[in-house]
């Protein structure tokens, strides 16, 4: 196989006035796991739909498993598996019937499709429900069946769109373990997720998308460094206003402190490593303030994400659906209810 599982160059897509993708470049080496992070409406869904041949880009090009998605979509489809909010299973078939149907459509002979379905049902812990109609499944069971559908043809490239949304902790761990096995065998995975912990745990490379563009990419460690300097964690003792701590120390910070009044916590981005600590102590003493806890640490990926994409909701624009544009947004309400069930 070609060296790269996915190569995208300058992918652009607009839906009427809405620019969903404004020139996205990315690369996933064969056998790697690429995490795609981004706020709602950033363009993640459009990106995956283009790479999975469901949408044609307005400009740019992409190769998946060595084939151009626009020129050889059938060759790409033979080599990918898709799981997530936009690739459903049939609620009026049983779990087993769904998987066998998809296996047959991948071209597996009947007996092989049946055996493969049984294997995946076991792996995803659906054995007790395999013979039940999918409409009786819980959201988490349905999600696992979705993942099984994506794995049916043992594809070399797998797209997982928020695979663990709606899973309970046990289901999430089981899926993570399964993905670990898959990548150990050389499957390349592109994963979109809202859980930074998930990206950190599974993905060797992370791409952060916002407003249809890649705004940062790298290993989790590199992204953490890009968030700039260290973080000073201060815990205010009960009865003391954490805002006083923030005020006394804000001159030492490289950016505005984050104050969590509910738990009395202040997080201040600082430069200069541990050298800053004596000055912290001096200023606290001068202001007559106490701390019940203090730590200097590297930023979390979540802090890096927020620093790179700007403050959370409401500031940039009204919270839209993922950027598939108005027609798709109105035509797809079922996804929301389904994943929420």
């Amino acid at each position: 196989m070609a060296a790269a599982a996915i190569v995208a160059e300058g992918l652009g897509k607009r839906f009427g006035p809405v620019v969903a993708l404004a020139g996205v470049d990315l690369e996933l080496p064969a056998g790697g796991v690429l995490g795609v992070l981004g706020p709602n409406g950033a363009g993640k869904t459009t990106l995956v739909r283009i790479l999975a041949t469901l949408l044609t880009p307005d400009r740019g090009r992409a190769r998946v498993a060595g084939f151009d998605v626009a020129e050889h979509p059938q060759a790409v489809r033979r080599r990918i598996g898709l799981s997530g909010q936009y690739a459903a299973v049939d609620p009026f078939l049983t779990g087993q019937e769904n998987l066998i149907m998809i296996g047959r459509l991948y071209g597996l002979p009947p007996r092989r499709a049946r055996r493969r379905a049984a294997d995946l049902i076991g792996q995803l812990e659906l054995a007790g429900a395999a013979g039940r109609l999918v409409r009786t499944y819980s959201g988490g069971m349905r999600r696992r069946l979705d993942v099984a559908a994506g794995l049916l043809a043992a594809p070399p490239v797998l797209f997982l769109d928020e695979p663990t949304t709606g899973l309970d902790p046990r289901g999430r761990l089981a899926l993570w373990r399964l993905l670990g096995e898959l990548t150990a065998r050389g499957t390349s995975v592109l994963l979109t997720t809202q859980y930074i912990e998930e990206a950190e745990r599974l993905a060797g490379m992370i791409v952060i998308i916002d407003h249809g563009q890649v705004i940062a990419s790298g290993t989790p460690g590199q992204l953490q460094s890009r968030a700039g300097g260290d973080r000073l964690d201060l815990q205010s003792p009960p009865g003391q206003d954490p805002r006083q701590l923030a005020e006394a120390l804000s001159a030492l910070g490289t950016a505005e402190p984050a104050i969590d009044e509910a738990v009395g916590r202040v997080v201040l981005p600082v430069a200069g490593g541990p050298g800053v600590l004596p000055e912290v102590a001096a200023r606290l003493a001068a202001a007559g303030l106490q701390v019940s806890g203090l730590a200097l640490r590297r930023p979390t990926l979540e802090e890096a994400f927020l620093a790179l994409t700007g403050p959370p909701p409401s500031r940039t624009r009204p919270p839209p659906h993922d950027a598939t544009g108005p027609p798709a947004a109105t035509a797809r309400p079922a996804h929301r209810t389904r994943s929420a069930r």
Binding site: R49, R78, Y86, D90, F92, G107, A154, E181
Partner: protein
């Protein structure tokens, strides 16, 4: 164990359109007996049509030259039942679009037309069942074929062929409106309008003059006329040829447009 079980069969696989169509037909047949609405459209409704129209209208309507109204009525209400049933095809394809089932199919290495063909094939089997069911119920209350077994078989074939045209039309409607409820209405309206302005229930000659011109050109009149000729006897060649021409014309328009719409359905 995750094994490479699937990969060996995949590369270089020719497009076995028939196998894929059969797989999707199987899916739709399963749905037919499991989705309550679909089951009602395929069983209760056809039986009700036979009984209600016969006993509610039968006493009042006397068609010249026909002894039993049910003999005159059955061809028309078979077309009605098939037309109503076909509205569920538009609903189903719109549902598949909104739930992401179409995206699933489009991500698989299959011919796009297999998804639509698999639905039409399941519809055709349903229509064969519906036609047989209605003939059975009608026979129990007095219906008889008067033109022999060959004509009777031709009538069943023509009814199923009519269903094909209805199915493709509703696929097109469902793909165009993309919303299950709208698709259901969009599928029923033309059937209701065409049915009541046709010769399905009463002879065209009983209608006001301005309506007669429309009623005579109405495809439901043409198709019902052909079915009636095959059931009641009399010259059948010309009406059947006209009905066949209508059906071919409808299919020649609806199939390519529906396939084209399907190919672009999820890309907007």
């Amino acid at each position: 164990m995750i094994t490479a079980a699937g990969t060996a069969a995949l590369p270089g696989r020719p497009a076995p359109m028939l196998a894929d169509t059969a797989t999707i037909t199987g899916r739709n047949l399963r749905r037919l007996v499991r989705v309550p609405t679909l089951l009602v459209f395929a069983t209760v409704q056809p039986v009700l049509f036979v009984l209600l129209f016969t006993y509610a209208f039968g006493g009042a309507i006397h068609v010249p030259g026909v002894t039993r109204y049910i003999d005159y009525l059955l061809p028309g209400i078979v077309v009605l039942a098939i037309g109503f049933g076909a509205s569920q095809t538009g609903v189903a394809i719109a549902e598949d679009l909104t739930t992401g089932m179409i995206d699933r199919f489009r991500s698989l290495p299959i011919n796009a037309a297999a998804v639509l063909a698999g639905r039409v094939a399941a519809d055709a089997l349903r229509n064969l069942f519906v036609t047989g069911l209605m003939i059975g119920v009608a026979a129990a209350i007095g219906f008889r074929f008067h033109a022999g077994p060959a004509a009777a078989l031709a009538a069943v074939a023509l009814a199923v062929a009519t269903g094909l045209a209805f199915s493709w039309l509703n696929l097109l409607l469902g793909l165009a409106v993309r919303d299950p409820e709208s698709a259901g209405l969009a599928g029923l309206f033309p059937v209701i309008i065409l049915f009541f302005t046709s010769s399905a229930l009463v002879p065209v000659a009983t209608m006001p003059g301005w309506l007669q011109a429309f009623a005579k050109a109405n495809p439901v009149t043409v198709i019902t006329g052909a079915l009636r000729a095959l059931c009641l006897g009399g010259p059948a060649t010309r009406p059947v040829a006209e009905a066949t021409a209508w059906l071919f014309g409808l299919l020649a328009v609806t199939i390519p447009v529906a396939v084209a719409r399907y190919r672009h359905a999820a890309s907007t």
